[in-house]
């Protein structure tokens, strides 16, 4: 309660008194005096709070008078966000729709077979499947079906269905953000970016690339790796060098002639216009001449050449042809 008591504001919920109107008559140099004045003034404030407090209706308890405090008037921030309301589980929705009341079940149930009180679940329970000695056959039963196995499989199905429903309910709660407090979601594979999102699915090409990289990183280059059922064979699984046959005729289609012709054509400038990239050469020439012109302009006003960065005399800047010729490729 924010009462005004003799010029003080009182917050009973926090047992606090605020006295904003006090004026210090003089800045007291002596610390002792200052402290004394603080304490005396504090006493007055606390007396005001105590007045309000002891005047509240109190009940007598064994240890002393107990007073019911009003809620505090100064607002404080919470330490955690408000809990989100849980969405109803599918069973809860169904129960509300049908008007099913939740009934408390007894822990002990009377077992007719043994005439004793047994647990409803757990060790030594009432309707345990393992305890059944005889299952009577019904008219609807097919011959050849094991009724004990059938019971067991039915129970397993029921358990699986329940587990599926439980996960479905948890997912629905997680979507809203209202997971129960003891359940946490853990990412089994940590994303590199550190976000909480699950990593996206990998595509076929990416998988093939990764498999290829893994294969080449083996000692034998992935040649003897066991391939799985659906995996495609490696793209270039043959040798990378081609050797000509030892004995061969020297007709028109002779391989050796073809080979040497190929090399010579590439080296000599017979098809040089296909190899030489005119546009690129022109661009390079223009850029070089521009740069030279700029440097010359700069030279007339700037420092001497001694202070300039000397270009290394060892590097040769010959004009490169666009295609690189490697002997390996030809052979």
């Amino acid at each position: 309660m924010g009462d005004e008591q003799g010029g003080y504001q009182i917050d009973l919920g926090n047992l606090a008194a605020f006295g904003p109107h006090h004026q210090f008559a003089s800045v007291l140099d002596n610390r002792e005096d200052l402290l004394k004045e603080c304490i005396s003034h504090g006493t007055k404030l606390i007396q005001a709070v105590a007045d309000a407090l002891f005047n509240l209706p109190s009940t007598e308890d064994a240890s002393g008078p107990v007073v019911s405090l009003p809620p505090p008037s100064t607002k404080f921030p919470r330490e955690k966000p408000l809990p989100k309301p849980k969405p109803l589980t599918s069973w809860a929705e169904f129960a509300i729709k049908k008007g099913i009341q939740n009934r408390k079940r007894d822990k002990r149930v009377f077992d007719e077979q043994t005439d004793s009180w047994k647990r409803r679940y757990g060790y030594d329970r009432v309707n345990d499947d393992n305890d059944l000695p005889i299952i009577e056959a019904k008219m609807t039963d097919e011959p050849g079906v094991d009724p004990f196995a059938k019971r067991r499989s039915e129970k397993r199905q029921r358990v699986e269905k329940q587990e599926k429903n439980r996960l479905h309910n948890l997912k629905a709660a997680a979507k809203v953000g209202a997971l129960p407090s003891h359940v946490q979601l853990a990412a089994t594979a940590l994303p590199i970016t550190g976000t909480q999102a699950a990593p996206r699915k990998v595509s076929k090409d990416e998988l093939q690339n990764v498999a290829g990289m893994a294969a080449t990183s083996t000692a034998s280059g992935g040649k003897f790796d066991k391939k799985l059922a659906g995996e495609k064979p490696p793209k270039h699984d043959k040798k990378y060098r081609k050797f000509l046959p030892v004995v061969e005729g020297s007709g028109m289609g002779s391989l050796e002639k073809q080979q040497s012709d190929k090399i010579l054509n590439k080296l000599m400038a017979k098809n040089s216009h296909e190899i030489f990239n005119v546009g690129k050469a022109v661009d390079m020439y223009n850029a070089k001449s521009d740069k030279k012109r700029r440097n010359q302009q700069g030279k007339s006003s700037s420092t001497s050449s001694k202070l300039k960065v000397k270009k290394s005399p060892y590097k040769n800047k010959s004009t490169k042809k666009s295609s690189s010729i490697s002997l390996e490729e030809i052979i």
Binding site: G19, L35, I39, H41, T43, N55, R78, Q184
Partner: protein, 311 residues
């Protein structure tokens, strides 16, 4: 892939439920730690604060080099500790030439820094140096009184912030039922200037007076220090609004149609909806006289025969 993790033991489950966000919150815990360098006074201050709040405080004794609360990257350690110990208040002490005897008091919201106040401690007087009658010593965990003197606490923004933080730090658990016999401590804060606050902890002595209200007497027991406000960081508006939200269920609902009268006592009003006598549904459906029913039935059958023939 996300996997569901549930606690494997009941004890772990209970701990997790304790730390979950609730509608009505339990008291805040405090984490007390210090940085790279501390002075003697600062060590004493930290231990005294820990003793004052023994019930709900955690004190770390190692030094923490990488905590800088006011810098953007230096608060990650603090947030991690706050998460691990479930503390939403922290007191971080450090000492340097530029900021001697420095205390940073901060609050967290959802384990992220909410606001900070940096104060310097001067003229520290510890509990052991005050001489008083030992019978008056306040017990741990008792709810304290607060007295804030001075207009600075209303006008100056930094002092307003400091007042809030000090109240939050020392107030203890918010209770609705209080035993009046257990009141024995007072915190007195005086705003001496626009950035200096005298902070004292006193024991309370209730003396007999004629009326129900006892006479209050303050005896200085505990630590007393001068707090000089250096820096502070207020929470940003959106976060502040979110942190101050009161859940819908806790807002007291006004009882409608009830009023109190001096003569008659408690009066309630009942509103009766309009009764429509003509269109009300009766418990039995009027069937009509037997002869009319017979005739109507006969007519209906004729109609049916006629329809069949047409088909």
């Amino acid at each position: 892939m996300l996997r569901i993790k549930t606690p494997k033991s009941l004890r772990a489950k209970r701990e997790l439920e304790k730390r979950a966000p609730k509608l009505v919150e339990r008291g805040k815990k405090t984490l007390i730690l210090h940085g790279t360098k501390t002075s003697n006074t600062l060590n004493a201050v930290l231990t005294e604060i820990y003793h004052l709040k023994k019930d709900n405080a955690v004190k770390y004794s190692r030094r923490n080099d990488n905590i800088r609360p006011f810098e953007s990257g230096g608060e990650t350690s603090l947030e991690f500790y706050s998460l691990k110990t479930d503390c939403s208040l922290f007191v971080y002490g450090s000492h340097s030439k530029k900021r001697p005897d420095n205390l940073v008091i901060g609050r967290t919201y959802d384990h992220h820094i909410y606001d900070l106040v940096e104060i310097g401690v001067e003229n520290f007087k510890s509990m052991s140096s005050c001489s008083y009658d030992k019978k008056l010593a306040p017990l741990i965990g008792s709810k304290p009184f607060f007295a804030f003197i001075g207009e600075g606490f209303e006008n100056v923004e930094e002092l307003k912030h400091l007042k809030e933080v000090l109240l939050d730090l020392f107030r203890g658990q918010v209770v609705s039922n209080l035993n009046l016999a257990g009141l024995d401590r007072v915190y007195v804060c005086t705003a001496v200037s626009s950035n200096k606050v005298l902070f004292t902890h006193c024991a309370l002595r209730l003396k007999k007076s004629g009326t129900v209200v006892p006479r209050v007497e303050l005896v200085e027991v505990g630590p007393s220090m001068d707090l000089v406000v250096r820096r502070h960081r207020l929470p940003d508006e959106g976060l502040k609004k979110e942190a101050h939200k009161v859940p819908h269920e806790l807002i007291k609902k006004k009882e409608k149609n009830v009023s109190k009268d001096a003569i008659a006592g408690k009066i309630g009003k009942i509103y009766v909806p309009d009764q429509q006598v003509g269109s009300a549904s009766l418990p039995f459906t009027p069937k009509g006289v037997k002869r009319e029913r017979r005739e109507a039935k006969a007519k209906g059958e004729d109609k049916k025969h006629a329809e069949k023939k047409q088909k």
